[in-house]
């Protein structure tokens, strides 16, 4: 379809709308080869030409890997297509005359900056709390010194593929970030280099997760369904296991 007409219901917040509200826009001339963000570009260009305030939305790589884009489209974080970021969603999945509702990630730990842009510093702070292996530059031994079983390396990768977009939190009815934390804990726990500080890592990351005000996981699995990289909730189970073992099975009193 070369020329779709859409009704867009977009959350605006900041500037003219300090409390935030939905504003309706009509957009025609939408081509089905456009990406969703290109469709918003077209709308913004029109708004700018009318000297109106364009819609703020975050985006960068537009190839599904940087994790910047963060739109809830018709109730789905990143839109209705699974394992697809909003930037990789194309308009061919919508129909002429559709009404599309666009909202930001909604979580207390992701305060809104403007319109559809949220602040995800809380994710950085969780990684800073322990999402790393303590190795200084130059300390490494030869890369092949420790073999890692192919499947295990692959499982570690399945967790490491997280792009830190926050769709898991946006999707979770509890606004929990367990999939994000689980992915990092699980990635690093599955490589021998990361096992050394696995106990303190999981303790510190969970403490930070809780301090940031994320909700508690109740195994709904909406996170996995909306994760653009399809990261499985089995990594949350590994996180739980690690947490229990590192508390009850470790002689350390405080981490």
């Amino acid at each position: 379809m070369e020329n779709m007409k859409l009704k867009l219901r977009i959350w605006r917040q900041g500037g003219k709308f300090p409390q935030g509200k939905f504003v309706d826009y009509e957009l025609d001339g939408v081509n089905d080869h456009m990406s969703f963000l290109e469709m918003l570009d077209v709308l913004n260009e029109k708004l700018i030409n009318k000297k109106e305030d364009p819609i703020a939305f975050e985006h960068d790589c537009r190839e599904g890997i940087c994790g910047t884009c963060s739109l809830v489209i018709n109730g789905y974080p990143h839109g209705p297509m699974q394992q697809t970021t909003a930037c990789q969603l194309h308009m061919r999945h919508f129909r002429d005359g559709d009404t599309i509702t666009i909202e930001p990630w909604r979580s207390r730990a992701f305060p809104i900056v403007k319109d559809l842009v949220v602040n995800r510093d809380s994710f950085d702070r969780i990684i800073q709390a322990g999402g790393f292996i303590s190795v200084d530059t130059g300390q490494a031994q030869d890369g092949n010194a420790i073999p890692i079983e192919k499947d295990q390396a692959s499982h570690a990768f399945d967790a490491a593929t997280c792009i830190g977009c926050g769709a898991c939190v946006a999707a979770c009815p509890n606004a929990s970030a367990m999939l994000f934390v689980g992915a990092k804990v699980s990635h690093l726990a599955q490589v021998p280099q990361g096992k050394v500080e696995a106990d303190s890592r999981v303790q510190r990351m969970i403490a930070q997760h809780d301090a940031e005000g994320f909700g508690r996981c109740s195994n709904i699995t909406a996170c996995e369904a909306e994760c653009p990289k399809g990261i499985s909730v089995e990594h949350i189970a590994r996180l739980n296991r690690q947490y229990i073992a590192s508390t009850l099975g470790s002689e350390k009193v405080a981490n």
């Binding site: 994320f214 996981c217 909730v233 229990i244």
Partner: protein, 247 residues
């Protein structure tokens, strides 16, 4: 600026307190109390089936009830049971309010809850739980309360059961009322939905997720969450029908 601002729980709480109050610890409390209640339901069901297993005017049931109320081990366990029900409920309410807060003040205008294997029940565990809690309160007042405090229950007259009450009569009288039968059957449906998610979720929370065994746990969970509530629901229906002379 994204610098580290970890708020550490004070040392006064101690490591175990810190563990139990962490997000995972809170869920572990839910999981363990839940698993205890799941086990209890089986025992409870086996006992309750005495109501209808044999058409003996309540001999089997009354003797079972006598045993349950007089055995010191069972009595201790039952205190634990009440404590766990309360703990499960309070913790559940705390989690529910915490999770609501975590979403923030502005809720989604449109939200589709798509899951990867999780059932619809998982989203409504809190609400299901609240209904079940209300049911348990009514249920306790109706039977446990009357058993302990009501003067109107007649004695169970059988050899070796001195001082026992005729609880069978109490139950049978209750289930003569079709409204009560419906109330209990509907409550069982709520419990079934709660268990549908709760059973497998308890294992996931404990970190017991395994490519080979998780499908088995889920299957057992689904069978359990249908059969056990069904077993409970059959009892009032059968008793009602017996009273009506249909059976």
């Amino acid at each position: 600026m994204a610098t580290s601002t970890a708020k550490r729980t004070g040392s006064r709480v101690g490591w175990f307190g810190k563990f139990l109050t962490s997000s995972i610890g809170q869920k572990i409390i839910m999981s363990l109390t839940g698993l205890f209640l799941i086990t209890f339901l089986v025992v409870h069901l086996i006992g309750n089936l005495q109501l209808i297993m044999s058409n003996d005017d309540g001999y089997a049931f009354n003797s079972y009830a006598y045993f349950m109320t007089n055995n010191p081990v069972i009595k201790t366990t039952s205190i634990l049971l009440y404590a766990f029900i309360v703990l499960h409920a309070i913790q559940g309410i705390l989690l529910w309010s915490k999770n609501r807060k975590a979403r923030g003040e502005q809720r989604y205008a449109v939200k589709v809850d798509r899951t990867a294997g999780g059932s619809k029940s998982s989203i409504y565990m809190g609400s299901l739980g609240m209904v079940i809690l209300a049911f348990i309160i009514v249920h306790m007042v109706q039977f446990w309360g009357q058993m302990h405090f009501s003067e109107s229950i007649g004695p169970f007259e059988a050899e070796g059961y001195e001082g026992a009450k005729d609880l069978y009569a109490l139950v049978a009288a209750t289930y003569e009322n079709i409204g009560m039968v419906i109330f209990y059957v509907v409550a069982m449906i709520f419990i079934a939905f709660h268990l549908w998610h709760g059973f497998q979720s308890a294992f996931q929370t404990l970190g017991l997720n395994h490519k080979k065994y998780t499908p088995l746990i889920k299957a057992v969970g689904y069978v359990y969450s249908v059969l056990v509530p069904l077993g409970f629901a059959v009892i009032p229906i059968v008793m009602y029908l017996r009273h009506q002379g249909v059976l």
